[in-house]
Symmetry: C2
Subunit: 343 residues, 2 copies
């Protein structure tokens, strides 16, 4: 099955003029007579002519499309971020091609290569939790492909970055729990190499220390697969609860981790927040529907997406090589609900 469409050549033939004249008329060149222009424009309108973007891409060596690399879109944070990305990209005439790594290094590499070979003009990336080797990004970046990282970023590549203030978020959440009388605060988080993990861990640590509590690394559990695998989180939890230093509070670092924790706690018969408190990093829009209602740290996902795509498009459209890069830090939103306040 094929899908024929009208070309500039067809118009030229129909009107008895050359393709170059048609092209120029369409672009409103001054060196085409008003009469010819009118004729071409009218005919093009009549036959509903649409320039072939593929031919244009070939000629201009750019595709007006940008690639997005995230772990998965079935995740509140990323789907909201993609909404932000799309809202801007569309207006600026760019297409968005989304690919999911599912937290797998291998798939990330494949996806990135695929996107690059599809000639995307730039990449918007949130690194997978399995990724420690960044060669696939570095290669492309060195060849001149504009890349902007968001949320899960890296210091190994000097470019624009957009992150949330994870340090402050974790700090505030920890202080909040301490102020509510919790003393054994666990932190269930992503893979240790991820920037978000490190930022949050730092905030968590500092809050503990500044409030006279010791940092206990046995209370920190890393989920290498970022919660894609429920067993991983359950293992972390059972490990916590069987240890001698049982936590009385948890800070969960992600959407899945949070819901998994809630389920596990519920199944274990513990009472929230009496036996254990929980604060979750989640962009769920229904934290009030949980029982008890869930205290959350919400990332500015939509805005992060918007800022990231703005930066990327600026990079793409910049006439001269950009040498000054910035890291934008957006504020998170901390909403205290029942799950972290003892009654």
């Amino acid at each position: 099955m094929k899908f024929e469409s009208i070309t500039i050549k067809d118009i030229g033939k129909a009107l008895g003029i050359s393709t170059s004249t048609v092209s120029r008329a369409l672009r409103g060149s001054h060196e085409i007579s008003a009469e010819t222009k009118k004729q071409v424009l009218e005919y093009a309108e009549k036959v509903n002519y649409r320039p072939n973007p593929i031919a244009l891409s070939l000629k201009e060596r750019k595709s007006r499309s940008i690639g997005v690399v995230v772990c998965e879109i079935a995740n509140n944070f990323f789907s909201q971020a993609i909404n932000g990305i799309e809202s801007i990209a569309y207006n600026r005439g760019y297409h968005v091609i989304i690919s999911q790594s599912h937290e797998s290094y291998k798939r990330e590499v494949v996806n990135v290569q695929h996107l690059a070979s599809r000639s995307v003009d730039g990449l918007l990336v949130s690194i997978s939790s399995e990724t420690t080797n960044l060669a696939h990004f570095i290669n492309l970046h060195e060849k001149g492909l504009p890349i902007v990282f968001f949320d899960r970023v890296t210091n190994e590549i000097i470019t624009h970055k957009v992150i949330a203030d994870n340090y402050k978020a974790a700090y505030d959440a920890t202080v909040h729990l301490i102020n509510n009388g919790y003393k054994n605060i666990a932190h269930i988080t992503f893979a240790p190499f991820l920037s978000i993990t490190q930022e949050r861990l730092a905030g968590y640590k500092d809050a503990l220390v500044k409030n006279g509590l010791a940092y206990n690394e046995r209370l920190v559990k890393y989920c290498t697969y970022g919660g894609m695998i429920a067993e991983e989180i359950e293992a972390a939890l059972s490990n916590l609860f069987t240890s001698t230093e049982k936590p009385d509070a948890i800070i969960a670092a992600g959407d899945r981790i949070t819901t998994c924790c809630l389920t596990a706690i519920k199944n274990s018969g513990l009472h929230i927040p009496h036996d254990i408190a929980i604060v979750g990093f989640t962009n769920s829009n229904i934290p009030e529907l949980f029982a008890p209602t869930l205290s959350t740290i919400r990332l500015p996902a939509f805005e992060m997406g918007q800022v990231a795509i703005e930066l990327l498009i600026n990079l793409i459209e910049s006439k001269r090589p950009v040498t000054e890069f910035e890291t934008k830090v957006l504020q998170t939103e901390f909403v205290i609900r029942e799950s972290s306040v003892k009654v």
Copy 2:
């Protein structure tokens, strides 16, 4: 900023052979000597040659990309469906370009036109709730662009369709509520023109009638914007609760509608399931975390995506025009939890 890459011309020049020879060597043509092939292959590998897909698209008049038109990806059903779509598309060498209508007819039209002009090879569509005029699809379809509808389908276009068994789902849910002693069962659903609305409504009606209850149209509320606008749902609810025929149960037709109903009921101080029961069509993966746990009808989103993309790719790759179309009906999953069972 631009991003140069290696072409077969470069390879030819480097090896002192023509581009056609390089092309043929790369494709493993039999009319190229083993020696030359080896040379070319090795060199291509060495410089990391990647064929330019844009040039290929131009030549073959297809882009190996397919467009997906949904309401929004920040929705469990659609993000799961997209996962299904991607899982297949990737393996078969297709790119997926996602666009969101946000339940707006205007945006749907713009998106579809945009996708078409980007030369997608086919379209996977779930119609927006505002859409009553299908001209934008009919046009493209008549020009030969393969389209497969899923979830929200239409009878105005003869092509493959993939839907859930909405009739049975609604029927079963209604019967379940009746069996649990509920008599005034309300149905809060999408726009009346949507196929899913009609299918569910039919199941709901038939279940009532077959169980000796009268169908009361005042208990059915339509949300034209499919729950994108919370006020719409709230209005429907307050309308229901202030009427003389107060419902004692609700069947909510979508993700957003369900959560919105839960919030509203919670705020109104009513007790679920004592004062009012609720069953929701939702693909949320945390219905157990709600209080009370939520009885749900889950659509086979992932499978629907998979089946739809399979059908679409078959259509695209079919040598001869396809005249036999099918409508696949997949089964839903009904899980009864606390919200619909009186204690």
